[in-house]
């Protein structure tokens, strides 16, 4: 006995909306889905007539649906927007090749210009090359930081007014929950805002902020939109993975919890003295940064100097590594130290799963049990294709664990842990005093999923 559409249109219902519990037919669902996004856009005043807007396109479900709906609404409601697609090619063999094909399909289907920017062009390194250099352990860090800035650079090249990303309601709710779970009240304060961006930066807007993931997927299914999905599922043992699983479990029992959590995040009062680091421009690349030198530049410096861990650990460690690098430039010990560090990294990266001789299809490492205690955060998604594509969050614990090993190595090479900063050539690289990792991981509420699945790097849905 078919269920009829709740609107009384006489058609057979095809889905139950999680947000309202209504059973709707296809056409009534499309209408409700698109109209709600239109309402979100107008109420949030996301765009102004005549503006150019870049849609961050990853080829995934969120950005594909976003592009489709933006095209539809722009025409239907005469937004007068000049829409274009902006895609980042991280240089991940087998991953981006496929997803970029999907993005090109979007370009043709929606008749929007497409700009693809590669890490290779922007930074001189592909993710494949970075992984070869640092192992897989921290690649999501590089990927997330580089991608975030790559979008800014792309948007500047396209001369757009803002970047629309595909973050959906589930993503936002997850981020609210994560910020609560991490005690990150400063970010809790702004993570629900529909438009982010400060002076001198290109704002990011989230038209799908109130749109459920289930509806995005059902919309794409019924509209036959083609999108790309990664093998990488979030790691069940990652902190964020737990938060996400919890959210999905709760959503099953009470679907309105997604909206309720967003509402809580939006209306929660935060003490006045909680503030975010002020944003400024990186002295090197001139893109937005909370430090004098931005994270992308620090990571790049590390790569180019053969000290790829630079910028991954605590900044105090980075400073020491750099100090060591600069002061021992003529000594062969340096080569040995670096070699050791690199060897160490390769081991760390590979023993997660590729040492088993096959890649983990699920995106989850088979050897995870060994790591659950110390390595609670992530990289169980050690699939080489993942590279930040999973929903994994990279917690600081892991970084600290890595630092311990590095410290041991540094000690072996006679570097004094407690040495002060005197005598450092600050011109070489002004490593900021704040905890880079903390900032890296939390800025923009992104774990690596952005690309990797979710909010991590704005990739997510990009």
């Amino acid at each position: 006995m078919p269920v009829l559409c709740r609107t009384g249109c006489g058609e057979k219902a095809v889905l139950k909306r999680p947000k309202t519990g209504d059973a709707l037919c296809k056409n009534c669902f499309y209408h409700a889905f698109e109209t709600e996004i239109h309402y979100t856009i107008t109420k949030g005043e996301l765009f102004n007539k005549g503006e150019s807007v870049a849609i961050a396109a990853s080829g995934g479900k969120d950005s594909t649906v976003l592009a489709h709906v933006m095209k539809t609404l722009n025409k239907r409601y005469e937004y007068g927007l000049n829409l274009m697609l902006l895609s980042i090619d991280e240089g991940i063999t087998g991953y981006r090749d496929d997803s970029l094909e999907t993005v090109k399909q979007n370009r043709d289907d929606y008749e929007m210009p497409l700009k693809i920017l590669s890490y290779k062009d922007l930074y001189g390194w592909t993710m494949d090359e970075i992984v070869a250099q640092i192992g897989r352990k921290n690649n999501c860090t590089f990927c997330g930081v580089f991608r975030r800035q790559a979008l800014d650079r792309g948007a500047a090249m396209l001369n757009v007014k803002c970047i629309a990303t595909g973050h959906n309601a589930d993503d936002i709710a997850e981020t609210v929950l994560m910020n609560v779970l991490r005690g990150d009240i400063a970010r809790l304060k702004r993570c629900t805002s529909i438009s982010t961006g400060s002076e001198g930066t290109i704002p990011r807007v989230k038209p799908l902020k109130y749109t459920y993931e289930k509806e995005i997927v059902m919309y794409a299914h019924y509209k036959k939109l083609v999108y790309f999905s990664t093998e990488c599922v979030f790691a069940p043992n990652a902190y964020r993975g737990h938060a996400r699983a919890l959210l999905k479990d709760m959503e099953k029992i009470r679907p309105s919890c997604i909206m309720d959590i967003i509402y809580s995040g939006e209306t929660m009062a935060v003490k006045e003295d909680v503030s975010l680091p002020t944003q400024r421009l990186c002295v090197r690349c001139k893109f937005v940064s909370s430090q004098e030198v931005c994270k992308a530049c620090v990571l790049l410096e590390g790569l180019n100097k053969g000290l790829p861990r630079l910028g991954i650990g605590k900044s105090s460690k980075a400073k020491k590594m750099l100090e060591e690098y600069n002061s021992k430039l003529e000594h062969s010990a340096k080569e040995r130290a670096i070699q050791d560090l690199n060897d160490h990294k390769v081991i760390n990266g590979s023993d997660k799963c590729s040492s088993k001789g096959k890649s983990c299809k699920s995106g989850l490492c088979k050897s995870k049990k060994k790591y659950t205690e110390i390595d609670n955060h992530v990289n169980k998604c050690c699939n080489s294709d993942c590279s930040g594509r999973c929903k994994c969050n990279q917690s600081n614990d892991k970084e600290n664990e890595g630092n311990t090993k590095i410290n041991t190595l540094l000690e072996q090479y006679g570097i004094n842990e407690s040495s002060n900063d005197s005598g450092i050539d600050q011109n070489k690289l002004d490593v900021p005093n704040n905890d880079i990792v903390e900032d890296l991981l939390n800025q923009e509420e992104d774990p690596c999923s952005g690309s990797c699945g979710k909010m991590g790097s704005l990739q997510i849905g990009f």
Binding site: V3, I216, M218, S451
Partner: protein, 108 residues
């Protein structure tokens, strides 16, 4: 006992858990023989998931199943309609039904 053929479809990344095959036709055995302990004669989605776990899902079933159902975040469509409209696990499978599993958990 008449035969029971169903079409299983996988997308959104769910196919990656099933040898990357997006569509397959399967024939379900007589339920009294396959699961004699439950003492039922009609297949519902609940038993289908058990059969899938035994026959199709080779590794990491926890990415697809949770408890006696699918993992939250995996959508189920029965003849292209949301299973939430059709009793979910209790839906009685009919010969020729198309059951689709779409993952929302895989990133893009």
């Amino acid at each position: 006992m008449s035969q029971l053929k169903v079409i299983l479809q996988f997308s959104g990344g769910a196919e990656l858990l099933f040898d990357k095959i997006k569509k397959r036709e399967v024939e379900l055995p007589v339920l009294e023989k396959y699961l004699p302990q439950i003492n039922k004669s009609e297949w519902s989605i609940r038993e289908l998931l058990v059969w899938m776990k035994d026959n199709l899902l080779k590794e990491r079933p926890e990415l697809f199943l949770q408890g006696d159902s699918v993992r939250p975040g995996i959508l189920v469509l029965i003849n292209d309609s949301d299973w939430e409209l059709y009793g979910e696990l209790d839906y009685k499978i009919q010969n020729g039904d198309a059951i689709m599993f779409i993952s929302t958990l895989h990133g893009g």
